[in-house]
């Protein structure tokens, strides 16, 4: 086919442009990533600088603190530990007392109050423990040197002023060191930025050139090529899908307009999902054509594409019975959708190259943004196992957004949801359409949802078109009513 040849030339150029764009995006993030890396380095350097100074300062600081306070501070951990030990002893005693009076059941629950005698015993024990504590503190005090040789107020004041002077000097030194490092790093970053900028400008130039070349090619191509109307994004022409003797879809034609929510309805077994599978090339149509216009206004003849390449042109689908990956976390489920956006080779992945790390960071950020938008961010690290249907459907939606969809195909999004969840979903779908400027094409049984959110509807029955129009037109259509409710005769 003549049509196909010119298409393939454009496709190679388009994929080249896509790669350039990807590199460009990565390079634009480079400076920021480098900055955060340098910040970490600076922090650790300043820390070790402060550590070096702290050895001297520590001595001065200890001398400047009054003996009583110093004793408490130094032995804080010891006190806490001892208190814990005493507490455990107390609890063990109380539990034995309870057990003696049969106040504890098999699940270790307490069933009653201690008798007054036992309580008195417990109070006595508590007194013993308190005495123990006092003895412990006294022993420690006896050992503590500074308490034995108390300083005069004058000496103390001298020590404090000496310490404060040393401390402020050290702080200044650390600050100066930090500033010096910042200046050094800023210089480094400037140099780096200049280098990256040169690279980016060169890339941008290459990108612009290839883009203009592509545009010229497309313009020329469009003359000879099949034309879609300006506002059409998807067009089915005489689509037929035959399984053996059964015609699941029969000579179906309709158009989906750019930026609308389009609904495909029909009774059970009407062939709605088959239409989806024909568009996304899970099934190869027996006859008929599927045309699609991508975000760059290029027309694609979808029948020629392999199923896993359809996503590259911005067509992303969800599934009727939710296909999430149970062995991966929700965030990783989104990264699966970004599979075509990773450009590193398998060898780079084996050694976890810096390039891959950068890509991973950027795509994870993108995924987190989408999860936040859909309010899934608090469960992002959990695998989607045993979650409510509403959440799973949202994950699938998030996946379509992550893939950078231009046309989102939803297969029964409201199936298995309760009324509340359906209402929420309708809001989300409308919101996504406006927020991400996508076209949405859905199959649905829930008439309320369809009539509420769709701009246009196509009704089919037994694989053939019944009617096409706005929701109110469809509602008043005789044929549709007959297909759903049966004829009156």
């Amino acid at each position: 086919m003549e049509k196909m040849k010119s298409n393939s030339k454009i496709n190679t150029l388009a994929s080249k442009i896509e790669q350039l764009k990807h590199k460009l995006d990565l390079n634009k993030a480079l400076v920021e990533l480098e900055q955060s890396k340098l910040d970490d380095v600076r922090k650790s350097k300043v820390d070790s600088f402060k550590f070096k100074l702290s050895k001297n300062l520590l001595k001065l600081e200890r001398e400047s603190i009054p003996a009583e306070e110093l004793f408490n501070v130094e032995n804080q951990k010891n006190f806490v530990k001892f208190d814990k030990k005493l507490d455990l002893e107390y609890r063990a005693k109380r539990q034995t007392l309870r057990r003696d009076e049969n106040l504890v059941d098999k699940q270790n629950n307490v069933t009653g109050e201690l008798s007054s005698k036992a309580q008195a015993e417990l109070v006595a024990f508590k007194g013993e423990l308190d005495a123990k504590k006092i003895a412990h503190v006294e022993a420690l005090r006896a050992k503590f040197k500074q308490l034995q040789e108390p300083k005069t107020t004058q000496e103390l004041a001298q020590a404090v002023s000496a310490y404060e002077k040393a401390q402020s000097e050290a702080d200044d030194a650390a600050k100066a060191f930090d500033l010096e490092l910042i200046a050094k790093h800023n210089e480094k970053i400037e140099g780096y930025k200049a280098k990256v900028d040169v690279k980016i400008t060169a890339m941008q130039k290459g990108y612009d050139e290839s883009k203009s070349e592509l545009n010229a090619l497309q313009k020329e191509d469009q003359k000879s090529q099949y034309q879609l109307a300006d506002d059409t994004i998807l067009k089915l022409e005489h689509l037929t899908m035959q399984f053996g003797g059964l015609k699941a879809v029969n000579d179906l034609s309709f158009e989906v307009k750019k930026g609308e929510i389009f609904g495909l309805i029909g009774p059970n077994g009407a062939g709605k999902t088959t239409v989806f599978n024909c568009i996304t090339q899970f099934y190869k149509p027996t006859s008929g054509d599927v045309w699609y216009k991508d975000a760059k206004d290029q027309v694609h003849y979808l029948n020629d594409y392999v199923v896993h390449n359809v996503i590259r042109y911005g067509i992303v689908r969800t599934f009727q019975n939710v296909e999430v990956i149970a062995e991966l976390s929700i965030l990783e489920n989104l990264l699966i959708a970004a599979h075509t956006q990773y450009k590193t080779s398998i060898f780079a992945q084996m050694i976890n190259s810096p390039h891959l790390k950068r890509e991973e960071i950027l795509l994870r950020r993108k995924a987190q943004k989408i999860l936040k938008y859909l309010k899934l961010d608090d469960i992002q690290d959990v695998p989607p196992v045993g979650m409510p249907y509403g959440v799973l459907k949202k994950i699938e939606l998030a996946r379509t957004l992550m893939a950078g969809a231009n046309l989102i195909i939803l297969d029964e999004p409201a199936a298995g949801l309760n009324d509340q969840e359906t209402l929420e979903l309708a809001e989300i779908i409308k919101d996504i359409k406006n927020e991400y400027k996508v076209t949405i094409f859905l199959v649905e049984h829930d008439m309320g949802l369809v009539m509420d959110i769709c701009d246009h509807i196509c009704a089919i029955s037994f694989g053939s078109k019944l009617a096409y129009g706005t929701p109110s037109e469809i509602q008043s259509n005789k044929k549709v009513q007959e297909a759903y409710l049966g004829s009156e005769d």
Binding site: K50, Q95, T280, N309, L328, I336
Partner: protein, 356 residues
């Protein structure tokens, strides 16, 4: 609070490095080398123990490679033995014919040949799935066996074949038994680090997506054939390299080592340990291949009744697969949970439920 009481940042840095995900793998590699040193300089460890350890390490490489197929891509293959044998025979042929040849050149040849054969076999067989793929690779395994038996000039037939002398890795450096052991440890460590990287990369995720839902994977732009082929070739490469390393240590091979039995043992080792965990696979390999020659053969009763060992391993395998689908790794996890639970129950018994 004393302001200047600081922890040494160097200590924090070392702690951070030692918690790096690679660190545990490197510790493992070092631990095996320590065992070798103990054998060399002390009577604590027997000579035969180190031999068994080297062999088990090679089999662990095979099993880790196999986990790409079973744990990640969701494919089952029974052709593993053929590829391990292939690596062994190419190595012995090269080292026997061109004595003193650089071992890394030999390994490169093994790699190239295994990739080519893996590609051919993969292209033909990966269009089918599930049990049928297992049957096709079973046939493949038999084909390899017959070749090993009958291509006597190349393989020495049923008597097996061997080579003598040391293994040259660089001009002037040749490895004896201990050197080869260290080389195996280095390869094992490097390959598990590589595996760790790969399974946590987009490739590993793509394989997992494919295993869980082929339609979702395709809709997300993952080519089924590409990733199945990739998993198959990775398994092939790991198997062939392991075979080659094993040859440099044992210096002898015969066709009987590379029958369907070996493939099944690798499959069992993977399933037993837990198909998606590197440590699980190590445990499984140790259980299936290492336990008998390393420890149990020292017990006279078991040595005289070898059938008992196979029976025990068989029963354990059945029990694990019935009750712990995630393998021994899941069992260990459960045991940990059980012990923690017991400890907290004991605490409750002694001190009561209410705090203070």
């Amino acid at each position: 609070m004393i302001k200047n009481k600081m922890k040494n940042p160097l200590v924090a840095k070392i702690a951070k490095v030692s918690k790096h995900p690679y660190a545990t793998f490197i510790y493992f590699g070092l631990a095996t080398v320590v065992l070798l040193l103990l054998q060399m300089f002390t009577p604590l460890i027997k000579y035969s123990f180190v031999g068994a350890l080297a062999q088990t390490m090679c089999y662990a490489i095979v099993a880790v490679g196999f986990s790409y197929l079973l744990g990640y891509a969701g494919l089952s293959s029974l052709g593993t033995a053929g590829f391990v044998g292939l690596g062994s025979y190419i190595t012995v042929y090269m080292l026997r014919t061109y004595s003193g040849m650089n071992y890394f050149v030999v390994m490169l040849i093994v790699l190239v040949v295994s990739i080519i054969i893996g590609l051919i076999v993969g292209f033909i067989s990966l269009r089918i799935e599930g049990i049928f793929l297992a049957i096709v690779t079973l046939g493949l395994s038999e084909v390899f066996y017959q070749v090993f038996m009958n291509a006597t000039e190349f393989t020495g037939g049923s008597n097996g074949t061997s080579f003598t002398g040391e293994v040259n890795i660089f001009p002037g450096i040749s490895l004896g038994r201990e050197g080869v052991f260290i080389m195996i440890a280095v390869f094992l460590t490097a390959m598990i680090i590589m595996t760790f990287n790969l399974v946590n990369s987009p490739t590993g995720r793509a394989m997992l997506a494919m295993k869980n839902s082929t339609s979702a994977a395709q809709a997300m732009g993952i080519s089924l054939l590409k990733y199945r082929l990739l998993a198959f070739i990775l398994a092939t490469i790991y198997a062939a390299i392991a075979g080659s390393l094993l040859m440099t240590f044992n210096k002898y091979t015969d066709p009987k080592s590379w029958t369907i039995m070996f493939s099944l043992n690798i499959l069992a080792a993977c399933l037993l340990g837990g198909t998606r965990s590197i440590w699980g696979i190590f445990i499984g390999t140790f259980f299936v291949f290492g336990l008998t020659p390393m420890f149990l053969n020292d017990i006279v009763f078991l040595r005289n009744n070898p059938w008992l060992l196979s029976t025990i391993i068989g029963v354990v395998l059945i029990l694990v697969l019935m009750f712990y689908k995630g393998g021994l790794m899941q069992l260990l996890h459960d045991i940990k949970k059980f012990v923690n639970n017991k400890i907290s129950k004991r605490r409750e018994f002694k001190y009561g439920k209410d705090e203070i």
